[in-house]
């Protein structure tokens, strides 16, 4: 039985850019925000607080949330960035919920935008934003190579193979092929052989097992109390939230000998993430279990993170997450449709905003407004998981169309 909702999303706005239709992060944020305000039926001067994730890759000025409210000419009582990488962005909804529950705000705006591919050479930036500049960057790691450390261990400890990871890419592309803004939509559906024939980016990860920097996106959500949401059209209730952060640099994580969160297993390991603890908090707070979840929007930037996140969220035991994909459960006819916009693997990662893309997709599916495919039965409860950094942080939200 679930507990009472802690907050509600009453307004959602999204915006998209591409190489043919260039928009910068400020423009995308503005467009999404105006959409969210109109959807919520409120004015910008009713927003008490604004939270974003960290600065967009395509506009790296610090204090970006200040820059945004300044640009919008929108004074607020509090604005900030949650810097747990992408997981911080997902956690903005949790902080908004806390402010609202504390009576410190009536309406909170959570937003993010980015358009990396359109403005920066992300490959040249390499892992410099996410790797230790003292002990890792001098060895030239790339982001795929850092994630590949976990893939290699995952293969070693649980006997998975590249063919298993191919199945994750195939499953996500089945959704992505039908989404109008998915970066890989143009390739259509793919098969295992196609994934395994694609070149290695960083072993054992091949190109189709890696996300791509795709276009630009912006998303904005207006959060308020469940009581105020009663007057709203199509509110989405926040039933639970959780988050955890274990490190910034992978080298720090590898040298931790213990962790206060039992769900992360024996240390050191690279096969459990902070998402496991985030999920525990969200389930506890909401009174829900994995059996209550109808749909997932998760952070699969590299194919092995699909099964690892499934396990961390409690949908499979450690080492068996691939079964959720193999059995077709994540598909449009499955009992656990997952990454319904194609996810980070096929929709792409426009940048920091990828976690907001997952939230936008969840709200659209709950409201029956999907831009791509939707399962025949509209989901009632969607779990959104946002990861950030090099396996560094995880946030989980449980969203529902009913109280």
């Amino acid at each position: 039985m679930s507990h009472a909702p802690v907050a509600a999303v009453i307004g959602m706005g999204d915006a998209y850019a591409s190489l043919e239709n260039r928009k910068d992060p400020l423009r995308l944020a503005e467009e999404a925000t105006l959409g969210a305000l109109a959807d919520a039926g409120i004015r910008k001067d009713q927003i008490d607080a604004v939270f974003t994730g960290r600065s967009p890759w395509a506009d790296k000025r610090s204090q970006w949330s200040n820059i945004f409210i300044s640009h919008m000419q929108m004074p607020v009582t509090l604005n900030s960035e949650l810097t747990m990488h992408g997981a911080g962005l997902t956690a903005t909804i949790a902080v908004a919920s806390q402010m609202i529950a504390a009576g410190a705000a009536e309406y909170v705006l959570c937003l993010q935008s980015d358009a990396t591919q359109l403005f920066v050479d992300a490959v040249a930036m390499g892992a410099e934003a996410d790797a230790d500049p003292q002990f890792e960057v001098p060895y030239g790691p790339t982001i795929p190579a850092l994630y590949a450390q976990a893939a290699r261990r995952y293969f070693h400890e649980f006997g998975l193979t590249e063919a298993d990871l191919a199945d994750v890419a195939v499953a996500n592309q089945r959704w992505g092929a039908h989404h109008p803004h998915a970066a890989k939509a143009k390739h259509g559906e793919i098969d295992r052989a196609k994934v395994l024939a694609s070149p290695y980016v960083a072993t054992p990860l091949r190109r189709w097992m890696c996300s791509t920097w795709g276009g630009g996106t912006g998303g904005a959500l207006v959060v308020t109390s469940p009581e105020r949401a009663r007057e709203a059209r199509d509110p989405v209730y926040v039933l639970g939230y959780g988050s955890a952060s274990t490190h910034e640099y992978l080298g720090d994580r590898m040298n931790m000998r213990q962790c206060r969160y039992p769900a992360l297993g024996e240390f050191p390991n690279l096969t459990h993430t902070a998402t496991a603890e985030a999920a525990r908090q969200a389930y506890t707070r909401s009174g829900l279990t994995p059996a209550d979840i109808d749909m997932l929007q998760i952070s699969v930037n590299f194919a092995h993170m699909g099964p690892i996140v499934m396990e961390d969220l409690g949908f499979a035991k450690k080492g068996s997450g691939i079964d959720v994909y193999r059995e077709g459960r994540t598909g449009v006819d499955g009992d656990l449709p997952t990454d319904t916009n194609g996810g980070w693997l096929s929709f792409g990662q426009p940048g920091i905003s990828c976690n907001m893309d997952s939230l936008v997709e969840a709200v659209r599916q709950l409201r029956g407004q999907a831009l791509g495919l939707a399962p025949q039965r509209r989901p009632e409860t969607v779990l959104v998981q946002g990861a950030g950094g090099m396996l560094a942080a995880g946030s989980v939200l449980l969203l529902s169309s009913s109280t």
Binding site: F135, E136, G140, T142, Q149, A151, R152, H156, T203, N255
Partner: protein
């Protein structure tokens, strides 16, 4: 101009105060790490206080330079011209015999590298800096 130069040079470590002894020892081709006098455990990366017990009794010790491969990945596409120039190259974590994990480059044919294989340190100059990298033990 500065940016173009940076992309064509080896990235240099962002040296923090706690690690100065490490970088100085490397210039003399010595690999070092810290050990806690109170809990006796190895501490890495460099700290001022023990990450395990909080003690201020950290001292630098010389590593024997041997360990085993914990994980690794071979990069096919170097992020900048200097890295593209040596690709494919392999980066990974070595579990050092002294009980800490070092992120490093693992040299040799990528097909020969496996989790659990023994590796030994050697030193390479990258720009101003000497860095420890590892080769398969017995191949070097």
């Amino acid at each position: 101009m500065t940016e173009a130069k940076a992309l064509n040079d080896w990235p240099q470590p962002y040296r923090l105060m706690a690690a100065e002894p490490y970088w100085q020892a490397l210039s003399e081709e010595q690999l070092t790490f810290q050990r806690c006098a109170d809990c006796a455990r190895a501490v890495w990366p460099a700290h001022t206080y023990c990450t395990h017990c909080g003690s201020a009794g950290l001292s630098w010790e010389r590593s024997g330079g041997h360990g085993t491969v914990y994980s690794y990945s071979t990069i096919l596409r170097g992020p900048t011209p200097v890295w593209a120039g040596i690709a494919p190259y392999t980066v990974g974590f070595v579990e050092m015999d002294e009980g800490y994990f070092l992120f490093t480059q693992i040299e040799g044919d990528p097909d020969d590298i496996e989790i659990g294989k023994e590796v030994t340190v050697r030193y390479v100059r990258r720009g101003e800096q000497k860095l420890p990298v590892f080769t398969m033990t017995g191949n070097g």
